[in-house]
Symmetry: C2
Subunit: 349 residues, 2 copies
């Protein structure tokens, strides 16, 4: 008998210390194959997790049959509908009550899961997080906060797309929540917080940045280092990079875009002569390793911070590895009591 | 007797068909050496240009002494002060009346030069352009518009830093002026115009983009293709990329930042083993060529569009090559009558 059946019997009260992760088995380009493979891998890596695979039961069951795994720690939760990427998110969440995203989020809302992970529609995950799971009291806007690769390791980008046209008070909360996440999930002590700006000086910037800068400077519980120019972001100047979602989305997408074009130009260049073709063979492993350090899928999904529970969005192109990393990230999030720390930090007015 | 002396005698009326470019000999990390070298190179490349070297006469004269050049086409205009990069620009323009930037811009204002080129303080160039040279009637905000490298060639990014917190009507003018520049200076027929957005659909975006989108759609004289996500910019999806200056500055700076970090990671990776070191030697020329295609200094400086004359800002790190390319770009700008075309396109209300 699996622990979820116990949960149901006891009316939603969890009887396990394990982190329970509800995984959208139907979302993303490689679903359900890579989702299920990732779940099985996570079980092998840590004993501290249970996975609820949410989606079409028959499809999931057929896929699962290929693996040997601890049957007490994986369970299927049937959901007959799938929200497509192109669907308007608000409508989709409202109408597709039996979709994997809505069913998975309800498991978090009802306390039957600690976290929900999806590689599906970003819009639906963002809307569902706010509407179904709900915000921690006092949190004005929950930001989407991916880790981005830098020369020194990783930085957390808050917000990268959840709340356009944010206000200064939102950005201050992003800084606080981002600092907690970087310190306790990623393990960076006293993380440096910077605000994205178009110059290093305090008087530079647009209206939002100029208003937010003194507020961040006045916050005692964060390690604010001032403005960060976009040029410095890949060098890892700040651990937590605070910005409004429109700017954050540009940063995230351009990281991917510039990287992929540059790499394809280099590869094309190397195929141009016999000499460089031979050289390319010799440098291939080194090149692969360097590029891997710049591949954001290595670092798991992006949490939506400040919700009553945890919701994580992974890349649409997620493979088993990213799903596995993300599930393990959920365990750390729970064990480090991130939401309790956010509640303490964000005092409702 | 040089043509400028004729000009002075005739009270500012130019007696030459050549494009007269005033060059800030004192601005930028490599001034005056690379500025003067660049000017001499430009003279060798085209007969259609004359250069006024603006700055400390003795310093310029000593540097010029190394070169053989057509003495009728280079002249020194003395300016005893230099505006430093760190100086607050408005104050600097107001107080340093005899700085190379103020003196050079006045030459444009008074019709003694067609263009002013500077690698010096961006802020001072932007402020001086508006305050000294002045806007074309009807132009609300003159944007800074650099060319950025893409997989397909180059795209024009308007605005990359002149006007934060722009309004929809400004962005529409950016689109018009950018289209004229790309068509007639860069030679892209019927250039595709895109607006930077966080999704491809019309209903996506922040308040500014949502308001601007239908205005651009309604413009008959531009080839508007809709939203462009940041990820697509390096692929060259649009020829003219319209955005507000804060976003544009992030795009420009991140292009440089991601590129340089990625390249240094690749180089570091290649130095890791004997095998890859040998490979690195073999691929070096190909790698260099690929990276060159992604080096923005190859494409000359960024014009400030919509002024009564032409002001071009080059990189602070400009070398002779970028200065030479920029001077030639000024010739095309004048010969193609870009400002006349902008005047026709922007009808004052």
């Amino acid at each position: 008998m699996s622990s979820r059946i116990i949960l149901v019997v006891l009316g939603g009260i969890k009887m396990t210390d394990r982190t329970i992760v509800a995984l959208d088995a139907m979302g993303g380009d490689n679903a359900p194959k890579e989702m299920i493979k990732g779940a099985v891998q996570a079980l092998e890596k840590t004993d501290a997790v249970q996975v609820l695979l949410v989606g079409k039961e028959d499809v999931i069951r057929a896929e699962l049959a290929q693996y040997t795994y601890d049957k007490a720690r994986i369970e299927i939760v049937n959901a007959t509908e799938v929200i497509e990427t192109a669907e308007p998110p608000v409508n989709a969440i409202r109408r597709k009550k039996d979709s994997s995203i809505v069913v998975g989020m309800k498991l978090v809302k009802e306390g039957q899961a600690d976290a929900f992970v999806s590689a599906g529609s970003s819009g639906a995950v963002l809307v569902g997080g706010q509407v179904i799971v709900g915000r921690i009291k006092g949190v004005e806007r929950p930001p989407l906060a991916p880790l981005i690769p830098t020369e020194k390791g990783v930085s957390l980008l808050v917000d990268c797309g959840a709340n356009v046209d944010a206000r200064p008070s939102h950005l201050v909360q992003f800084a606080k929540m981002g600092s907690i996440y970087m310190e306790h999930v990623v393990g960076i002590k006293n993380p440096k917080v910077g605000i994205v700006n178009i110059g290093a000086e305090e008087e530079k910037g647009n209206a939002l940045v100029k208003e937010t800068f003194p507020l961040l400077k006045g916050e005692k519980n964060i390690n604010f280092i001032g403005s960060v120019e976009a040029r410095e972001i890949p060098h890892g100047q700040a651990d937590v990079i605070v910005c409004e979602a429109f700017a954050g989305n540009i940063i995230l997408k351009l990281f991917e875009g510039v990287g992929s074009v540059l790499i394809s130009e280099i590869k094309k260049g190397m195929m141009g002569s016999l000499r460089s073709k031979i050289g390319a063979l010799l440098v291939k492993p080194a090149l692969k390793k360097a590029l891997k350090s710049f591949d954001s899928s290595e670092y798991g999904g992006a949490p939506l911070l400040g919700l009553n529970g945890l919701v994580v969005k992974t890349h649409g192109s997620s493979t088993a590895k990213e799903i596995c990393n993300t599930i393990i990230q959920c365990v750390t999030f729970k064990e480090q009591k991130i939401n309790e720390k956010i509640k303490e930090s964000i005092q409702p007015e």
